[in-house]
Point group: C2
Chain length 355, copies 2
């Protein structure tokens, strides 16, 4: 018997295998409308209402580094990334369950600070922290957060549903989270270098990061765009498809296109890139567009809209049209600022099990 | 500033601290009926129906040992322990979300086997596996499972609600899971001893465990007692309080008594102990009653019932009355087989953060 390493099939290959194994359980409940494959599972509550539910696992050394992450921000981000998945269904969050595993050296104050971050952020989203689990951990901190939300069935936005001619829109600015991580990683390396020479930890070792503050904030303290969902509901807007940008624009657009059976054409010049991300990219002699396409963790909303609904979003200062949906056979194209067409399927998104 | 180690306040002390930090989020949703403190969070779905939701984190080297745990059983147990919490509210499970973190050496087949165990067990409980998350892990396997269930509001059983005079009942037999773990741990030590002498791994190194099969099965492959919930619903039985036995009878009775503001009087001679657990205890020169009181992981239901409802459970072959609820000032007493009274609050239950 041979054993295939997960890196051979990658994260999405693995998810496909898992989906096929759990598929028979779908029929256990006639009220499960959508299982694996979207930002949330969708469960029917009544004739007109559904529950949407999502969960994210955050592991130290994989998803966060305590050397560069304030504990309160860690707690906040754990809530926001889940609420962002709820928003991606055009729904509002209701309650959360939170589990934490702690190494024996963790202090009571350490745990309290994380939960204060979660609690304050949950309040911003009108979300109740309703329960969870605590456990010892053999090494490192693990957080598992689940959020349940609700929405009228007819207002749901899936990843599928985009049609040729639809406008492709994003909220906010992109690239900041990846750029912020770049700076934080450099600072950590500098700090470790100092410490390895026997110098005591000293906050003044750290450079002044003021000029990177916005990018770092987007990395450490992202917000779920519940304000956009409020705007949609207020103006009767139902995106034809929606996803939150967690893996990078290229990968997340890929999900929408694959599930909708469409292509897409994006213009680089229309992508709202955080100015600090450009500045940081210059410093690292990199291209800020790559932070946007494959950096991920921006937690902005990427959605499509019937072209005739353009006027309903035109006045919103934080929504930008970056391209349009095309027939499937036209592929996933990005026209760069020089007019060259780039195939976005060749751009790598974040993959937990890269070979 | 001084930092207090978690072991100073223990798992329940930590949960109290967390509860007070997240308390302000309670008012974020007027529909959250019960937060931290019971087997499940309780969320109002409609005038007559509630959702109950629970989550458990399972970490390698803390909750399970892959040297003694078949992967399929691991997947199965991860589902059963959560469904058991749903049953403890007198509810039925609907859907589950499952997250897994995997070390880089894990193979595709490894993951598939765990999910097959989860999937087959979820089917037994009519529960849909609806989504989740996959991630890399720096070390060890981590599983996080969340299960949502449903019940009419008036049929809910909380931990609170027991009243003096109520009968105290348990399902099934107890002590098996702790006894099984005792045997498995011994076998693991023997195996490691052989391996440390350079012997190759050989299944025949292991003793024949046939005589311990039932105890080992209760440790590795516990069942949630959804059959008992079916029985309750069919006969209109609503326990005045209920909990599943995960920390040990003493600790779990303690939860019911503390939250209900009552005492309890249990008779050791009435506790249904798994015969193999007695046999294993004899072999280790231990007392099987201790497996029951502080071993935990039996995942049987512990509940209280109005005395006049005795006839409704009397004929059930798998429900035993082990004592009765008393006024709070009478404490938590166990009368042993010699007629001595033991204060159960002095018995330690499972505590993740023991000093």
């Amino acid at each position: 018997m041979s054993f295939k390493p997960i890196s051979d099939i990658g994260e999405f290959g693995l998810i496909e295998r898992i989906s096929s194994i759990v598929a028979p359980t779908r029929k256990a409940s006639s009220r499960l409308i959508e299982g694996i494959g979207d930002d949330c599972a969708v469960y029917e509550l009544s004739y007109s209402t559904v529950q949407v539910a999502t969960t994210d696992l955050l592991l130290e050394h994989v998803h966060f580094d305590l050397l560069t992450t304030p504990l309160q921000h860690l707690g906040s981000k754990a809530i926001s990334v889940n609420v962002s998945d709820i928003c991606a269904m055009n729904a509002r969050p209701c309650y959360a369950l939170v589990s934490i595993a702690l190494p024996s050296k963790a202090s009571v104050e350490f745990v309290e600070t994380i939960y204060r971050g979660m609690s304050e952020t949950a309040m911003l989203y009108n979300t109740s922290l309703a329960g969870g689990d605590t456990s010892a951990s053999p090494a490192g901190v693990t957080l598992s957060v689940m959020v349940a939300g609700e929405i009228e069935k007819e207002k749901l936005s899936y990843r599928k549903g985009a049609q040729p001619g639809d406008l492709v829109c994003v909220t906010g600015t992109l690239g900041g989270a990846a750029a912020g991580l770049r700076v934080l990683t450099r600072e950590k390396d500098v700090m470790l270098e100092h410490l390895s020479h026997g110098e005591k930890y000293d906050r003044d070792i750290m450079s002044n990061l003021e000029e990177y503050n916005e990018a770092i904030r987007q990395q450490l303290l992202p917000s779920a765009r519940l304000d956009i969902i409020d705007f949609f509901h207020k103006h009767g807007i139902i995106p034809t498809s929606m996803i939150d940008i967690s893996d990078g624009l290229a990968s997340d657009l890929g999900h929408i296109c694959r599930l909708s059976g469409v292509g897409v054409h994006i213009e680089e010049s229309r992508i709202p890139i955080l100015p600090q991300a450009r500045h940081i990219a210059d410093e690292f002699q990199e291209d800020a567009v790559n932070y946007v396409l494959s950096g991920g963790e921006d937690y902005q909303l990427l959605f499509t809209l019937k072209a005739e609904q353009f006027s309903s979003i035109a006045s919103h200062p934080d929504i930008n049209v970056i391209g349009k949906i095309t027939p499937e056979d036209e592929g996933l194209l990005l026209t760069d600022i020089y007019g060259m067409n780039i195939d976005m399927t060749t751009v790598e998104g974040y993959n937990h099990f890269q070979g």
